[in-house]
Structures are given as C-alpha cells and as structure tokens.
Symmetry: C2
Subunit: 214 residues, 2 copies
C-alpha cells in the first residue's frame, strides 16, 4: 500500500501522478476479469482504481485501451504459469498433466476472480464490439498454438506417436481447460476441477493411437 513511484519513472517536469499506475491497472484487471469488458462500467473502473475521470483518460486513454493493457498485465501476472509450464523440461505427458493440475488450482484461487480472464471472454457480445471479440479469439488461438507447439515437440522427442494429430489434441485440451473455466465461474470446487483434469489425462494418446477399451 506504500505509494510507490511509477514504474516507468518520472517523465520530466510537471506535477507527478498521485496514484500508482500499476496498482490501478491491476484493480482494473480484476474488474474486467470478473465482469468482462461490457459488464464493467467506466464508473466501476474509476471507483475501483481510485482515480477521477480525467486522471483515467490522461493515464489510460480509453476503456478499450485499458482493457488491452489489462489483458497484457493478466498474461504476465496470472497467465504466465501456462507458458512457464510449457517450457519446463519435463516429458510431454507430465507437462500436460501439470498444466491441467495447475489450471485447476489457478482457476479456484480465493485471492483472485474465479476462472480465466481470456478463456471465455467476449464469446457473446454486441456487433459494435467485433474488434474486441476478434482480439480475444486471437488471444485464445495464441495459447492453443503454444500448446500445439509443445505437443509437436513431444512428437519429435518420441513422447507422442508420430501419427498424433497435434492440432486436434491441442484443441481438445484447450477445450477442456475452457470448460473448466466455466465450471470454476459457476462455483465448482478445486477438487472437482482436479477430477476433470485427471479424467482428461485418460485421453492421452497411446502408442497404438487407439482407444483405451479392453
């Protein structure tokens, strides 16, 4: 709570900002996370951020620009585990298992809104928000591509059969994760998400690429 200096430092002469820009951004992020873009009003934002409209406009340009910044902040703060785990030097199956387990935990933290800010955002919105919708779809595609790349590496490493349909497998696990997000937002307990994750790992491809039926 100690008022820190702005992270980008003084920009020259003139009156300094009376608020912590980073802190305000995080407050906005949490609101957007919980309520979505359209569900968060300007007044909600400036109240939660503790600043006036003019300060808002001066520091963040517009609600839409703030949302984009909030997404970036989310990706770096609360979404980094995804890429972190993908980059760990474990075998591919273990990596996916850790990813799902971590997702279950992250989606049910009691110090942050439930679920994920990006996973199901702007899937239903007014046509005037088409840009936002495409932005979120792009974000989701990027996460899915990152997973696909890790799975492809798994094929190269011999962790997965050469016949594996990488893109489909990535789509499957991302679908599962997004469904977990809906569960979390509807109030599901962490244990429930962990069970979903465990069952999801049963779908992991076998050497013969076939079913798990006896």
């Amino acid at each position: 709570m100690t008022p820190k200096k702005n992270d980008i430092g003084r920009r020259g002469r003139g009156r300094p900002q009376s608020f912590d820009r980073t802190q305000a951004l995080y407050a906005a992020m949490r609101l957007f996370w919980d309520r979505g873009y359209e569900g968060t009003s300007f007044d909600d934002l400036i109240t939660a951020m503790g600043i006036s409209p003019s300060s808002f406009y001066n520091a963040f340009k517009s609600k839409e620009a703030l949302y984009q910044e909030a997404i970036e902040a989310y990706a770096q703060a609360s979404g980094a585990w995804f890429y972190d785990i993908l980059g760990e030097p474990a075998d591919t199956r273990t990596t996916l298992e850790r990813l799902l387990t971590f997702a279950a935990a992250e989606f049910t933290r009691d110090d942050l809104p439930a679920g994920c800010m990006i996973a199901v955002a702007a899937t239903q919105c007014s046509p005037s928000q088409a840009r936002l919708r495409e932005l979120m779809a792009t974000q989701r595609t990027q996460y899915e591509t990152a997973m696909a790349n890790r799975l492809r590496l798994g094929v190269n490493l011999g962790d997965l059969p050469a016949t594996t349909d990488i893109d489909a497998l990535a789509a499957f696990y991302m679908s599962l994760i997004r469904g977990m997000v809906v569960q979390a937002r509807d109030g599901a307990a962490r244990e429930r998400l962990l069970e979903i994750a465990r069952i999801g790992m049963q779908a992991w491809p076998t050497k013969d690429g076939g079913s798990s039926a006896a």
Copy 2:
C-alpha cells in the same frame, strides 16, 4: 412470411396481434444466442422482431422476461437433441459418443448462430445481472445433472465400472462440450469439433478404471 395465427389462439375479444409471437420470439432467441443478454439492445430486438416498443412491452413484458422465454424456446427447439440422445436406448458409451458427435454438428450449423446459447452465457457480467448469471448457472447445472443421471444408469446397467465417479465424469464431458462451444464461436470447423469429440471418447473409463497407457 405468411402471417400465421398466434399459436395459443385468440384470447378473446379485441384487436388481434399483427405479428406472429412465436416467430418474434425465435428472432429474439437468435439475437440473444449470438450476442448474449447484455450485448443485445432493446432496439436490436424490436428491429429484428419487427415490432414496436409498445407491442414488445405488451407481448413480452420486459427484456429479461423475453430472455427467459428465449431460453425455454432454445431448450425446446435447439437444445432438445441433448435430452433426446440421453433418452435413447443405446449403451452408455454409444450414447456419450453420439452426444459429442451431435454437439459438434449442432454447434456448427450454418443456419443458426455458432455454439450454444447457454453453455458460456453470463459467465462474465455486471453485478446488476447477478440474477441472470445464477439463472444460466442453474441451466448448466441441469444439463450436467441430466448427463450424470444417464451415466449413473450406465453404472447400473453395467456399462460403466461401479467405481466410476459419476459426477466427475459428467463434469468432464460437460466441460469438454462447453470448450467445444468456445471453439465453435471462435470459428472452428465442424471437423475440428469432431476430432475433439473423438479424443474425448478416449477418456471413457475402462473396466479397471485405470489409464489407457500400455
């Protein structure tokens, strides 16, 4: 386009409605389906329904009441396949397989909005829409409960191991379906959803309740 009589018939004396209430309701349903509740404005609605504000108010009471009617219409028209398939006299695995396959097809019809009206609706919304949010969560719970009941029947029929965690398995498949909805809304092709469904069936419990690993 021929003006049909209202499906509930004349209600007595007085001027008859000049529009088809059912048709107007379906037009509203499609808008809500595509844009969500908050993303659909009053003007959008009356334009798509082809009626005036007073006719709207007279016939549907309010936007929120209309939304509830739209959900019911959706459940009966575009969501019925879910319960239909659950009620088919196939073995449990086949039933789930058909459910996922049908979902992939239904979520990518070109004559209707992509995805599902309920699966990811109101997961992020303003606090003023708390009632709506709970309504949608309840709807989702009902679909999940219906699936759980069918799975429980499967245990009783011997289609599933007695040790199966029914609720977890239902949560898993509903999560997958909801994730498929996000994929569909982001523009995924039907084939992609079918692949997700196919992979999802790999997670089907085996007799030993264990992994499919060799």
